[in-house]
Every structure is written in structure tokens, then in C-alpha cells.
Symmetry: C2
Subunit: 377 residues, 2 copies
């Protein structure tokens, strides 16, 4: 089972004395009792007086520290073996069952280097994506191909215009899938060809990333089809496709870019007293899962995260994390060209700026040029 | 891409005039504006004045009805083609981006029969699981093997005792994965053998369901290994493994039972003003995705859903749904043998009662016998 996802580290080589540390906010009464119950729920899910001593010794989570009052902070240590060397089980461990209890919010995670290595993280990361695009010294510029409902040829024509205009990444909207108007196997080769043609004219290396979200076996087929069509990577939706889907895509694409989209993940971030802190979800966890870049809804657009939360996401994507490559934060969702200076100031240059609709006001090629000019490209 | 998941219905055969209807509660101000924005966000994600007329005609969501005041109810119709005949994209359509906006709750879904047929739903359903177990006229009884940290042989010995004691389904806890103490490929054949031995002695047909949640390629390997070991089905965690994982499991197992676990899905149900109504999530969506039975946290245990919400989940799992087989609700999470009469009264007989820790107080075999006696088995 463990030889499939060749990260170079065998999970059975993980030092068994390692510890996974999770930090939770506990909102509401009785924080001490609930923190202790959480540590048991997430490890044994069995009252400790019923657990055999060998299991208590090997695999019980413990509350290492509890501070604060109304919003208590509990630091819980779990033996590293509980994750079984795999990301899905790490998520089950961190928040699986307690996601169903109100008032518990995961706000920080630390894992040993060897576990992180077994899970994988970004294959390309910031440097790898920059190498693919040939762009340094400024943010990368991306757009989304939309709306769904256009024919494949019309979408390809739009991709061509945006690539010629100067974007670094032309990705498909998460609304595209395998619809009758532009089926995946028809659409992807056409768009890949259009972007290649644009690149031949401009001398640039604009990347084309189709969205892949078919169910399990179809997912693998889509990844191979994307690679054969000459796509430069893919966009993956872990909220519907599963958390193993990101690293699997980078394994199949072997050198292609993997971009994560936050669709169907908002349940975790909508409440300030529950779920997962946005920087942990869209920074740490998505990066650990293998995203080279992570889309999230930026402040000032159609969504509700604050500037501070968004900057924290960007920092979590790039800061040192158990020896993994840094990932590119990709703020989007109602962004506009005239906000580029403000966004650059907030997020810094190792960022992908994602602008969709604003590039379709007037001629897309001209809008892409204005977007490129806004970062001095 | 579409020939992988053989549901018997080709997605391109779906009647293109069909409509997917979603009902949302919209909490907070400005419901009319936000409902209109939601219909656009979830379909085009592009202001309609910028969308080509052909896309407006083909693929734009529309608010059909808006009622109520403080908590407005918006009924939105989407052209069926937007789902592309696949479950992951249906979920993106229903709540993908707007899950990231506060105050929006998905409370009902209706889809055409041909789309439901293409997605698949339960292969076995209530009747199929009853046929596998040979049990009729009473609820089915299940338990979870735990805690994680035991050796494979110890878990197998526990499984044997519980099966001999009279349980219908012995499943693994979601805390088990591929940990060093009981690796998947070692553990699953041992437990399968132990349950077979119990069945040979009792003449009953207790089902053994290992948990499968390795990342994509490893997932397929685990499913095949489970089948080869003689497991009677599997438990799947769509919250980490992805929503395509349920039907994929039933395709690989071809006749085995697929049980869904709610781990890492609580973000959607923790807030009363956001996310997904529990009956839609754990009843309708999990069933549509292919679960023969759906575990959810019952009222009266360690979790927070009300009796009314739990009964609604059970009804959503079993009521007519676009021609799909009914699924078994599987309430669990802190259940106890002495509550069986109350639970039977609330949920009815086409239910799986899941009791974990309470069967490990004293001798598991004797506890399983008391559990069986409580339903007259």
C-alpha cells in the first residue's frame, strides 16, 4: 500500500518517537474537560479506563498545555504513528471527529520532518513554478477561463488572447468539468494547443492548467489525458476530490504544476469559533498535501476573510515547514487590476495574483496587458 | 473519462433540458441581492453582462423563488448539464464557492433521475445489505474495532469475540489506517479470517468492513487487498478521501457493502446558519455518492445534533430520491445498549445501530449478546 506514492521516504522509516502537535481553540465552557476529551476522541475514541495498557502507552493523545479563559488554547501531542505516514489519516487525527463538535478550532499544526517527507508537500514549490514560467522578480499573474457553457473552441480562443496578452498562468475555472458544451477530452487539447501557439508567438512560457475533478478512476484518466495534451499542470479541488488528490496529481504529472482550489472547503472557515484557521487550511494543510500554489478568497473581493487572515495564509504557504518546499499563495475572488499595488504590498512578490472577470471587461488581450503592466512585466 | 465508473448510464445521454434544484437558507441582510449573486457565483462566476449570450442561455443558474425574511429561503434552478454527469462537480455546483461566504446554508436538493443514475447511488442499499447479512425484521447491529495502537492479532481477537457475540457488522474504527502497530496489509486478512471463523461457528453472516483511506493510488490497492482478504465491504471517509471514493469502492468491491463515516465533515454542520443541513449532507449527498449506510453522530451521545435533525437524516437516507436505492442510516457516537429501545423508536428498523465503547465494558462477547438481545436477535 505504501509503495504507490513514491515520495522517497518509506513511512515505516518514520522515527516512532516523533510527535504531532496540534493547537486548538476551545470556545465555550469547560475547556479543561473538553480538551482532555478531545485528546482521547482524536486518538483512541475509547474511554482510557477501557483501553489496554499497550494502547495507552503507544497511541493516546495527551493535552500538553492549556491556557486562556473564554477562548482556551489547548496544545495536544499525538504519537506520530497515529498518522500512519499518510495525509488523509493525519487529517482524521487532527480534526476528524471533533469537527462534528461545536466550538473547536484547529489553529496550528507541527509535524516531524520525516512524516512531512513521507506525505510529500509541493514537488515544484515557489522555485519550481518560477522555473517553469521563466519569471522572477515579480508576482505571477493568473486568470480563470470562464464562463462554463462556452464551446471548447471559444474557451481556447479566450485562452489564446489571455496568453498573448501576457499572463503567466491560464487556468480553467472550477465550474468547468466534463459538461456537454465542452467535454474534457475535447476541450483540454484545444486549449493546450492555443496556449502553445501563443507561446510560440510571444516567446513567453504561459502555463495552461485544466481543472480535474472526475471521480477516482476517471481522475487518473483525466490526469493522463492532461499530460498527453501537453498541459503544464492541473487545478485540483481537495474539498470534493479528496486530500490525496493533490500529491497524486503531482506524481502523475511528474514536473507539472499543481494548483489547489478552495471549492467546498468553506465549511471549515466560515465560523470564527469552529473549524480550521484559514492559514492552517489554505496555507499549511494544502501545501502539505502537495499544492505548488493555493488559491484562497482574498480580502476586498466577494468573500469575507480579513486582510490579516489573508496575509497569514500567504505566510503559512511560504514559511519553513518541516523541510517542505514553500508554496505560492494565490489570492483571488473578485480581484481587480487597479488593486494590484495594494495586493503586492500585502502579499509580496512570491504570490500568484488571480484575476478573473476583470480581464473580460473589454478586450481580454488588452486587459491582460494592463494586468502585466501593473506588475512591470 | 466517462467510461470508468460503469453506472450503466452514459452522462451524455442525460436529458439536457433537466434541472437541478437547490434550496438555500440565506441568513443576514440583503437576501434578494445575495440570492441573485449566489446563482451567478455557482454557475458562471462572471457578471452576466460580461457573459456571451450562448452561455447565458445554456448554463446560468436562476433564482426561481425567494421567500421569508430574516432567514430567507432561495430556490435556485441550474441546468443539469452544469454537473457534467459527475458527483464532484455537482457538489461544486451546489455549494463550492458559496461555502466560503457566511450565512448560506444548503437545505434541499433535487436532481433528475438520469443524473442520479449516472452518479450511481447505493449499489446494495437497504435490501442488499439485509441480503448480505441474512437479517430482516429488526435493526442491524454494528460496532467499531478500537483503540488504535493494538497489534493486528489483538484486533482480530476482539473482532472474533464481537462476531461470536452476535453483531451483524464489525467495522474498523476510523482511527485505524496503516499504522506501524497494525499495518493494513497485515491486519485486514487476520480480521477477515477471525470473522469467518466466528461465522463458521455461529452460522450467522457477520460482515467485516475495514477502513480504507490511503491516498488515491494506495486507495485502489487497499480496496483490492480488502476484497482479496475476503472483507465484506469497506468503510470510506469522503471528508478526507473525496466524494468519488464511495462509489469507486462499490465498483471495485462489486457486491460488497460501502459504509460512509462523517470524519472531517463537521465544518458543514456545526453552524445553524451556514454550510449544509445535516439531513442533506449525511442523508441525501452521502447516499447519492454511493453509501449503502451512512454513519452520523446521533442525538444523546458525544455530539450535538438534535433528535429532530437525526430523524431527518434517517428519513433522507431512505425516502424516494430520483430512483436511487434507499440507504441505511447508522447513528453512532457514544451510544449505549440501554438506549436501544429509545433509538429504535426514533429511527425505525431499517437502521444500523453503531455501538463502540459500551461493548468493551466487561467481556465484549457478553456485551454483544446483550446488544443483540436488546433488538430481539
Amino acid at each position: 500500500v505504501t509503495d504507490i506514492d513514491p515520495t522517497g521516504i518509506d513511512p515505516t522509516d518514520i522515527d516512532p518517537t516523533g510527535v504531532i502537535t496540534a493547537v486548538y481553540e476551545i470556545h465555550g465552557d469547560d475547556a479543561e474537560t473538553r480538551a482532555a476529551a478531545l485528546a482521547v476522541e482524536q486518538s483512541h475514541e475509547l474511554p482510557t479506563e477501557l483501553a489496554p495498557p499497550i494502547a495507552v502507552e503507544r497511541s493516546l493523545g495527551v493535552v500538553r498545555e492549556l491556557t486562556g479563559g473564554d477562548s482556551a488554547i489547548a496544545t495536544v501531542d499525538y504519537p506520530v504513528g497515529l498518522a500512519g505516514g499518510e495525509l488523509p489519516q493525519l487529517l482524521v487525527l487532527l480534526l476528524g471527529n471533533v469537527s462534528l463538535q461545536p466550538g473547536i478550532r484547529l489553529v496550528d499544526v507541527a509535524i516531524p520532518h520525516d512524516l512531512a517527507g513521507a506525505i510529500g508537500g509541493p514537488r515544484l514549490g515557489v522555485d519550481g513554478v518560477r522555473a517553469l514560467t521563466g519569471v522572477s522578480g515579480r508576482p505571477l499573474l493568473a486568470t480563470a477561463l470562464k464562463p462554463v457553457g462556452l464551446d471548447s473552441a471559444a474557451i481556447a480562443a479566450l485562452a489564446y488572447e489571455l496568453a498573448v496578452g501576457g499572463l503567466d498562468i491560464v487556468k480553467e475555472d472550477q465550474g468547468l468539468a466534463n459538461q456537454p458544451w465542452a467535454p474534457f477530452l475535447e476541450r483540454v487539447p484545444l486549449i493546450a494547443e492555443a496556449v502553445r501557439r501563443a507561446n510560440a508567438e510571444t516567446g513567453r512560457r504561459t502555463l495552461y492548467l485544466p481543472v480535474v475533478d472526475a471521480p477516482v478512476a476517471g481522475y487518473d484518466r483525466q490526469l493522463h489525458a492532461a499530460r498527453e495534451a501537453g498541459a503544464d499542470g492541473v487545478m485540483v479541488l481537495p474539498g470534493v476530490g479528496g486530500w490525496g488528490a493533490l500529491r497524486h496529481a503531482s506524481n502523475v504529472l511528474a514536473g507539472g504544476m499543481v494548483l489547489s482550489h478552495p471549492s467546498f472547503l468553506g465549511g471549515f472557515t466560515a465560523s470564527p469559533t469552529h473549524g480550521i484557521a484559514p492559514d492552517v487550511l489554505f496555507g499549511t494543510l494544502v501545501r502539505l498535501a502537495g499544492a505548488d500554489a493555493s488559491i484562497f478568497p482574498s480580502f476586498g473581493g466577494r468573500f469575507s476573510l480579513s486582510r490579516e487572515q489573508c496575509v497569514a495564509i500567504a505566510e503559512a504557504a511560504r514559511r519553513p515547514l518541516a523541510g517542505l518546499a514553500p508554496a505560492l499563495p494565490a489570492p483571488g475572488g473578485g480581484m481587480q487590476i487597479d488593486r494590484v499595488p495594494e495586493l503586492r504590498d500585502a502579499y509580496g512578490d512570491d504570490t500568484v495574483f488571480l484575476i478573473g472577470a476583470d480581464l473580460q471587461r473589454g478586450e481580454p488581450r488588452a486587459a491582460a496587458r494592463r494586468f502585466a503592466a501593473a506588475v512591470g512585466a
